[in-house]
């Protein structure tokens, strides 16, 4: 069973199962190493951040999108192009805050969590927390500081999986010495 490859340049197809199992093995090892769920969540976020920082360059190179003019456009690009390109899913965008600086991504099927069940003793674990780190890292490289967190997780018994993304502030490029 192999995932349809969306990359025209890469003829090697990686099996989706291998991807899911690799991620699962990594989370299992983190749990063994760190023992505390909060610590594992933090590590997943950190790893995701490092992935996001590089992934955004690959995304920009392949998708040719220009700068987004506002946060709504950013949300559209993330859901319809970003998630589609890397995970093959299209989350729905909902629950916009009144100020337009916060929204939710409803993730229906998550390839990271196929076959996964979380036992009782790891009730605090956000299994797919790496996604929050990826979003944070990627958006930081395009000058947006955001906060990403799970508000609902189907692995923890909720109906759906929902990631909330909040815009904190715009990051300005460092100015060369002498400029105002």
């Amino acid at each position: 069973m192999s995932r349809q490859s969306t990359r025209s340049t890469d003829s090697r197809k990686v099996s989706q199962e291998l991807f899911t199992l690799t991620y699962g093995a990594m989370v299992a090892q983190l749990i063994k190493d760190y023992e505390s769920d909060d610590e594992v969540n933090k590590q997943l976020d950190k790893m995701g951040y490092n992935i996001g920082v590089r992934m955004v360059e690959d995304f920009l190179a392949r998708s040719n999108v220009g700068r987004c003019h506002d946060f709504r456009e950013t949300a559209d690009v993330i859901a319809k192009q970003g998630f589609k390109m890397y995970l093959g899913i299209s989350p729905a965008i909902t629950n916009w805050s009144a100020a337009g600086d916060e929204f939710s991504l409803i993730v229906e099927s998550n390839p990271l969590t196929d076959f996964v069940e979380i036992p009782e003793k790891h009730g605090n674990l956000y299994y797919s927390n790496i996604l929050c780190g990826v979003l944070r890292g990627a958006l930081e490289m395009v000058q947006m500081e955001v906060k990403a967190w799970f508000t609902q997780d189907s692995l923890r018994g909720d109906n759906t999986t929902e990631i909330r993304l909040k815009f904190i502030k715009r990051l300005e490029d460092a100015l060369p010495a002498g400029e105002e």
């Binding site: 920082v53 590089r54 190179a61 999108v65 395009v142 100015l175």
Partner: protein, 145 residues
């Protein structure tokens, strides 16, 4: 038809890569100063063009021309700046710079976990690939002088 040199800067002004193929006159200052001058100038030109533009613009600053050379500029949304100087016969290098970004920089620097972003590029593979790519361009030709 020639290509003189290339600079690659990141969003903090660090010069990640510089290479020259055909440069007959030096700037008269150290490389470090030259990079700072280049980055500062590009930054100023970009902001000047944005402010003085009489209409809405799509790409902003793309190139400038003197009577001897032409400087081409391409910036990614992530703040990476690619600057190529060529002679006057070269027209539009936006595609070329975009290709350098997506097929060489992303493939051999971003995807290499041993390459630290934000530091000058030390990857030999990147240097070789870029060199081959530029030499393979239809308008590259070392002039016999």
């Amino acid at each position: 038809m020639t290509i003189f040199n290339i600079h690659i800067f990141d969003r903090n002004g660090t010069c990640l890569y510089y290479h020259e193929w055909n440069r007959r006159k030096q700037a008269g200052m150290s490389r470090e100063e030259e990079f700072k001058l280049m980055y500062g100038m590009i930054f100023s030109i970009k902001s000047f063009i944005a402010r003085m533009s009489p209409t809405d613009y799509k790409d902003g600053f793309t190139n400038f021309k003197t009577n001897k050379y032409k400087l081409h500029f391409y910036e990614t949304p992530s703040g990476l700046k690619f600057i190529l100087t060529t002679d006057l016969s070269v027209n539009n290098t936006r595609d070329v710079l975009q290709q350098i970004y997506s097929q060489i920089f992303v493939e051999f620097v971003v995807k290499n976990p041993l390459c630290n972003l934000g530091e000058p590029i030390s990857s030999e593979l990147f240097k070789i690939k870029l060199d081959n790519f530029v030499r393979g361009l239809p308008y590259f030709q070392i002039r016999q002088s």
